[in-house]
Amino acid sequence: MSPDSGPFHPDLDRQKSLWARIWEHRALYAAISPFYILFAVFGLFPIAFSLYLAFHKWDGIGVMTYNGLNNFKYMLTDAEFWQAVGNTFMIWIYSTIPMLFFALIIAFLLHAPFVKFRTLFRVGYFLPNVTSIVAVAIIFGALFANNYGFLNYLLQSIGLPVVEWLNAPWGIKVAISSMVVWRWTGYNAIIYLAGLQSIPQTLYEAAKIDGASAVQSFFRITIPMLRPVILFTVITSTIGGMQLFTEPQVLVGNDGGSGAAGMTIVLYLYRESFINNYFGYGAAVGWGMFLIIALFSIVNWKLVQGKSS
């Protein structure tokens, strides 16, 4: 960079006003502007507009009228909203615990020295993640179907009674959770694997010399060293779990299936906004969900962090 090119001379620039400095480097600002313009149009504006919308009544086409805090009041007193919150948490628990557990085991196995064709396995475990969710939901729908479903076929053929998966409240949640587990276990395993690979081998060697068993070194070295990675996966799966939508929507429909047992918060938001045309209310639900995710992420963060310190 030649001395006259400007942007890296804060001492000289300080004498001028901010706008003058921006104008002087306008070409560079223009060059980086596409991101900011796109972000403003597709990121910032919708967020700001949804906040504005949350205080209005709007059917999507007609006139918007100011509605004060009514949308939020309605949300807080709506049994279906709270059911959706409860469902979302249940599905999150049903899916996240087995998912992270399996992911850790898979990562540990992939990291083990005796495994051959590692790249093949890594690609294999990652594949579910790039499969279309709609396709996944349709296949799982066929697996869990009440009549003519594959799981019920298996149960019947070993002489067990048929389970009405998609009629029972817990069955719907299990079906949705299993989809999440299937889809995200490999993804988390790859992340854990990266974490495992960053643990210096010397730590294990030192432990071995001191006479530690494999189990001891797993709990005393691997888990503590993986903590930041585990934190990361817990937070991302919290956010992902709270935003669950396509799986239940394709599997059990816009109403969350029988007894609304598969109604998640986002599905509720979607139905109220885009099926029932309560756009203002939908925006309010969106902000409610934002608060829930924020609170829940903080709680999780504290929990996972707290254990170590």
Partner: protein, 427 residues
Amino acid sequence: MIRRKRTCWTAMIMACVLLISGCSVWPGQDDAASSKKVALTLWYWNRSIDDKLIARAKEKFPNIELTAQKIGGDFKAKLKTTLAARSGEPDIVALNDWIMELFPSEDRFYNLYDLGAGEVEDQYLPWKWKQGVTPNGQMIGFPMDTGPTALFYRADLFKEAGLPSEPEEVARQIDNWDAYAAAGEKIKEKFDGKVFLTDNIGSVYSQVLSQASERYFRPDGSFIGMDSPAVRTSWDTAVAFKQKGLLANADGWTPAWNAAMNNGEIASFVGAVWMKQVLQEAAPDTSGQWRVTRAPGGDGNNGGSFLSILKSSKHPKEAFELIRWLQSPENQLEQYQTLNLFPSAPGVFDKPALKEKETFFGGQATGTVFAESAQHVPDAFFGERYPSVHNIITRRLNDIAKQNADPQQVWSDTVHRVEREAASVKA
């Protein structure tokens, strides 16, 4: 430095050009002006208008440059987004039976009465015509096809269970929902509970309701209340069907429904005329066994569509001429033959096309049954909140049918829920 700056600007400008050229759609006003043609766009969904008819319309109206666009995916969502954006609207748009959701936005549509719709009003079924007219008397939807309902039943299963099997006889003996339920109990007994009378609780409720002359709202927008006789009767009938074990719990549009129909687990259902097509595709193995007769409890309607002209159109007169021609009785008759769209113009009901024998229905001419039904559909006002209220009730009924929830408990929950929705502050 100067050179570098210039390169930078060039890159910027090129990026902008790319961005703009990527999303620019310059309307072809110049072309239209030079050829002196009126440019009209039409939005419809697959199988709502015959493509050949559209091709003929282009010959019939040489002064109109018609761009007919088949909108795939969620048609309603796309239309509503376009209306909300107030840009890129078509001149003419097809609307489905959710037309009442757009009544609050009647000012976004031309009043077809102003364009001369009154001249042809007597050619169409009055109840159908009224569905396109808002409570303020603005006509925003021109009648396309309709969905008169009838009883679809398996003649072989009915016969085996000792029930009448000829359409006239079935209609005479099973002329109300109680008689229909009694027939269902006979079937259940005969086939040891392996064959069910009908598919699901929601369809029973909706079909009883569709035979009534009121729904949930009055034309002035006020809520009738859940104690309206129509709602109560429909609910009680649906719950009784569940309690008597007459439902297969097969939801429509699912592989389970198709399989149950094809395997002969369902002996009958009340459905609209377009179910003919759905049934034939779902249950090819049962061809020849089905018959159609007038529904127990009376005639009703499910579905059917409309054509509207948006206020943003610059050529409403030409658009209306086109609509009027597309949906003329003769062209409706033609679309009945090509796409199975049931006419809303009763003038063509006695034409040979409706009397054609159908092998899937054992050689019965089902068109005449639906034509009779279509002429006896009661007038009913829906109201723009009909879909959300109706949806609350049918999904609660599902809890009774599938989770054995206590009907009394569900009823009081539903009343509470629907009243909350009717008094909603949300929209």
